[in-house]
């Protein structure tokens, strides 16, 4: 479980919107409907879905609890297959030579080349196992606060898309502007001041 590992990364989000009652059933359904799909022995190159944090390879949102006190803890799992370009090229060249053999042609059309490449990738992706990556998230439901335990751009983007698809809620990433706007309790005139702010000069008065 990533949350219990020795070092953590954390990106904070604000959750906006209201879940349909009963809330826990809505969440469980959202998780089950978008649970990670295994893609080993499958031509897909990538799969993104939810999993349980303590059993990421055998998720069961009915049997396993993801409620800890007032927080929900579960994981985003991203399975990806990557094939070195040199291997793809080797199979592609071989397949092209086979296609040309027995014909009197010297070249294949653009469409034929694309078809061969797709077929090569399809066959290779079926044979190559996916590499899984898990990222825990801690959702403080009452506070509308969410911690995502990764700062990786791709993982954060996948989280934003999947979370909104699964629960019909939007999440806003917290960074200096959104922290000021959403978390600092600023009055309207301060929000105006925020919009007009420009960088200050801390330079020991050298440029004052």
């Amino acid at each position: 479980m990533q949350l219990l590992s020795s070092t953590l990364s954390l990106t904070r989000y604000r959750v906006n919107g209201t879940l349909a009652e009963p809330v826990m059933d809505t969440i469980r359904e959202g998780l089950k409907n978008h649970v990670i799909r295994e893609i080993d022995n499958d031509p897909a190159s990538k799969s993104v879905g939810w999993t349980t944090s303590d059993k990421p390879f055998t998720p069961d949102f009915e049997a396993d609890s993801f409620v800890f006190g007032t927080s929900l803890v579960f994981s985003l799992r991203i399975d990806k297959k990557s094939i070195p370009a040199k291997i793809v090229n080797k199979h592609y060249q071989t397949a092209m030579r086979k296609r040309l053999a027995g014909t009197d042609r010297e070249h294949l059309s653009k469409n034929e080349k694309r078809e061969i490449k797709d077929d090569v990738l399809h066959r290779l992706y079926v044979r190559i196992p996916a590499t899984p990556s898990m990222y825990d998230l801690v959702w403080h439901m009452e506070a509308g606060d969410l911690w995502f335990l990764s700062n990786r751009k791709e993982a954060n983007e996948e989280l934003e898309t999947l979370f909104s698809k699964s629960f019909k809620l939007s999440i806003v990433r917290i960074f200096p502007y959104t922290a000021a706007q959403l978390l600092s309790g600023l009055a309207d005139e301060k929000i105006d001041a925020l919009h007009k702010a420009f960088p200050a000069a801390f330079d020991g008065g050298a440029h004052a």
């Binding site: 479980m1 949350l3 219990l4 020795s6 070092t7 953590l8 990364s9 954390l10 990106t11 904070r12 303590d54 800890f68 006190g69 927080s71 803890v73 801690v138 911690w147 700062n151 806003v172 990433r173 917290i174 960074f175 200096p176 502007y177 959104t178 922290a179 000021a180 706007q181 978390l183 600092s184 309790g185 600023l186 301060k190 001041a193 925020l194 919009h195 702010a197 420009f198 960088p199 200050a200 000069a201 801390f202 330079d203 020991g204 008065g205 050298a206 440029h207 004052a208």
Partner: protein
């Protein structure tokens, strides 16, 4: 509210100013830190500070590494117009220590090391360990955002330049003079 990606780039300077203000506050005004967290025994700059200076159309990055490394170079970089873009911080209560990196432009936390939680040997231990770890992480999240709220209140006040910027500049000058 502005478009998120526009706002991220337009206002990342606020994150850099926050970390610079935080360094100044750590050095000169520890009462603000204890007001933010009454359990705080100390908050100190750890083993890494990154500063950037984008004045005069050139990007300069200075990275200071190593436990107990002198921060003189950092102060000189501030004097030349640089700002802190990333910092490693060490937060201590009376009994425990946390270490983490904080990035200004995103307020993202990385390499967060909290005090150890109890070992999970049986299934029944899991809930306690998870709740304890959430509590330990919350200490840092709460500290960062309480301090950020203090910073943003000062940053958007009418006397920001006259009061806070003046004091930070004075601190930079006197810290360099005292080294």
């Amino acid at each position: 509210m502005l478009d998120v990606s526009v706002a991220y780039n337009r206002y990342k300077f606020l994150g850099h100013e926050f970390l610079t203000w935080l360094w100044y506050t750590i050095e000169t005004d520890p009462d603000i830190l204890t007001k933010a967290d009454p359990d705080l025994a100390s908050l100190a700059i750890g083993n890494r500070v990154v500063l950037e200076n984008s004045r005069h159309n050139r990007e300069e990055t200075i990275t200071i590494r190593g436990d107990g490394a002198g921060l003189e170079e950092g102060l000189i970089a501030l004097k030349k117009g640089g700002k802190v873009t990333e910092v490693n911080l060490v937060y201590c209560t009376a009994e425990h220590e946390w270490r983490f990196n904080l990035k200004g432009e995103s307020l993202a936390v990385s390499s967060l090391k909290t005090p150890q939680t109890g070992k999970v040997e049986k299934k029944e231990d899991l809930e306690g360990a998870v709740l304890e770890r959430i509590y330990l992480v919350e200490k840092i999240v709460s500290l960062i955002y309480t301090l950020y709220t203090y910073f943003i209140a000062a940053r958007l006040s009418a006397d920001w330049d006259r009061r806070t910027v003046f004091r930070i500049n004075k601190w930079i000058d006197s810290a360099i003079a005292g080294k």
